[in-house]
Amino acid sequence: MILQDGETIVAEIRKHWFVFVQRLYLPVFLAILPWIIIFGINRSPLTIPEMSEAFVWIAVFVYALWLMVLWTGVFLIWTDYYLDVWIVTPERIIDIEQRGLFSREISSIRFERVQDITTEVNGMVATMLEFGTLHVQSAGDSREIKLEGARRPSESKKILLQQLNQVMQYRGRGQVADSGDADRDSDASYRQDAV
């Protein structure tokens, strides 16, 4: 669907798992919140009447429902994390950005239009776990795509540079035959807001 006929995948650049784990703090906190509240009430001077068996089962029931909602939330975060990806093909970089469940943006930059590839690693954790931000700048309209929290950004940059070099070598050899073709297939970008 995303790839053109006959187009092959050279590499997939994804986000680091730490980016996903980092975003789990809210569901984890909400999962333990009822325990914190119960613990707080038990420690406070407020005395609550001794819980009957019925109340205990109601509490278990409500907590199970609460966890179901949070469980779904965790996997919505995973969806957002896993479906944000760069697909590298011999001709272009396809940037897929998932936003929630019903919105995704797909844009691509052809290698012949790539002007600059930058990696950015900030912080101790990012340095130790090898993740960072990848920026690719395109020529002409000065458009930029970026993938935050990309795993092994320097290796990804190497792959991109290799592809870029191959495209440049190919274009160098076939320049007479292909003159003017570079701009015909300029950057394709479209937005898809559907299921």
Binding site: P49, A54, F55, W57, I58, Y82, L83, Q98, L101
Partner: protein, 79 residues
Amino acid sequence: MMNNADFVIIQLLTPRTLSGVLAFLVLALVSVTVVMIYHWRQYGRRTRPVKIVSIVYIAGHAALIIIAGMALLKYSAVV
């Protein structure tokens, strides 16, 4: 022993009402699940992580539904 608070809770939260709540939530989650797994398969292209995550997700929900159902049965038996 039942106290006043328990009495109020039991009057409001009958097993029937709670079953309705559970059914509603399960239906809502099933619809979200269908969309989510469709996305994973469509755009994640049925890779190994997608398969593993689908199994973990469904297994987690199944376990929680069973726990909620059992708690509801126990509650029904008590009231």
